[in-house]
């Protein structure tokens, strides 16, 4: 998704760092190899970035300026709920959901272009006060969840799969908002598509709540 944007903007002082919150042996690799991106694609098996930046899902993004300062804190990276209305067999989306999905993505990419062109004067860059207000907040349960997750992942790598999985379950119990933790565990204990019915059930259980938070950005549909 980011390769074209990166190619367009890389000579203007811009880089994408893509981080896979992923740990099944070899899982991100075929995807990375197929896409052959020329920006750094990193593997974050322990979801450390999720801990540092309070990420709960993919794709989420943070905008960091040339001085290493956050100018837009963690938010959905142009992602929209449209997939929830997908036909679960044909995987087709109704036209209006497809349009919203495309517009959300296009708006987000255009905002990045605007930022690269205008820097801090871009209307999409948050001033310090707004960036602070929008910074996501851990709870102490979330902090404990990341400890449990890290322990679980380590134990699984060491061959202690049963206890490892119990720690992943505990992590999700403490941090129910994290799709990343839940789906990582679902990937470990079940095979591929077998996890899908559980995923849809969990999405449906959201009812009116959002899967992706609304993006606080001018021009978002």
């Amino acid at each position: 998704m980011w390769q074209a944007l990166y190619e367009e903007l890389k000579d203007h002082g811009f880089v994408v760092i893509a981080v896979a919150l992923d740990s099944r042996e070899g899982d991100p690799l075929p995807w990375i190899e197929a896409a052959a991106p020329s920006y750094p694609c990193l593997i974050d098996a322990d979801h450390r970035l999720a801990d540092l930046y309070h990420m709960v899902n993919v794709p989420q993004a943070v905008w960091i300026d040339e001085h290493g300062m956050i100018v837009r804190p963690t938010e959905p990276a142009g992602a929209y709920e449209g997939f929830r209305r997908m036909d679960r067999v044909t995987r087709e989306m109704p036209a209006d959901a497809a349009r919203m999905t495309a517009e959300t993505k296009a708006t987000y990419l255009n905002a990045i272009r605007d930022w690269v062109r205008l820097g801090r004067t871009s209307r999409h860059v948050f001033d310090a006060e707004r960036a602070r207000a929008r910074a996501p907040r851990h709870t102490e349960d979330v902090a404990r969840a990341h400890v449990a997750f890290r322990l679980g992942q380590h134990l699984i790598r060491q061959g202690q799969a049963e206890e490892g999985d119990r720690w992943l379950a505990e992590a999700s119990r403490l941090h129910p908002d994290s799709w990343a933790m839940w789906r990582q565990r679902a990937g470990v204990t079940e095979l591929g598509l077998a996890a899908q019915p559980d995923f849809w059930a969990r999405v449906d259980a959201l009812a009116e709540r959002r899967y992706y938070a609304p993006i606080d950005m001018e021009g978002m549909p």
Partner: protein, 137 residues
């Protein structure tokens, strides 16, 4: 023998003595694994020192060993250990994470690419960075 995992380190502790919820380490092991060391003024890391509460020295110190788990809890930081107590994970509190994010300084990290080569955020200083998560799931 035990392994102690923190945000940035994984340290094999050859001198550690585990007793229930206590993880007794030598001063040099504690410092290597966590960056905290035991000084006359208390426990110190970089420019911060935390005194041992008066009268409670024996909860933290035993001869030349320090109960690292007691220290971590005293610092208000989360920790867990495996059932066999061979693996300990010392985490970072929500308060510390929130303080870091509200400083607006993007936390640095070092992660491997598929070939195993490590990349950090700080090596891209001077560029605008879009840091984005993804997954195969």
């Amino acid at each position: 023998m035990a392994i102690l995992i923190t945000d940035t380190t994984e340290t094999i502790l050859s001198d550690a003595r585990v007793e229930g919820e206590r993880l007794w380490l030598s001063s040099s092991e504690l410092e290597a694994a966590t960056g905290w060391s035991s000084r006359p003024e208390g426990f110190c890391r970089e420019s911060i020192c935390v005194p041992i509460p008066p009268g409670r020295e024996r909860e933290f110190l035993r001869g030349d060993q320090i109960d690292a788990a007691m220290l971590w809890r005293h610092l208000g930081q989360p920790l867990e250990h495996s059932e066999d107590r061979g693996t300990w994970v010392f985490g970072t509190s929500a308060a510390d994470r929130a303080a870091a994010l509200s400083s607006l300084e993007a936390p640095d990290f070092s992660l491997p690419d598929p070939s195993g080569r490590r990349h950090s955020l700080s090596q891209h200083r001077g560029k605008k960075v879009l840091l984005v998560s993804w997954a195969s799931w």
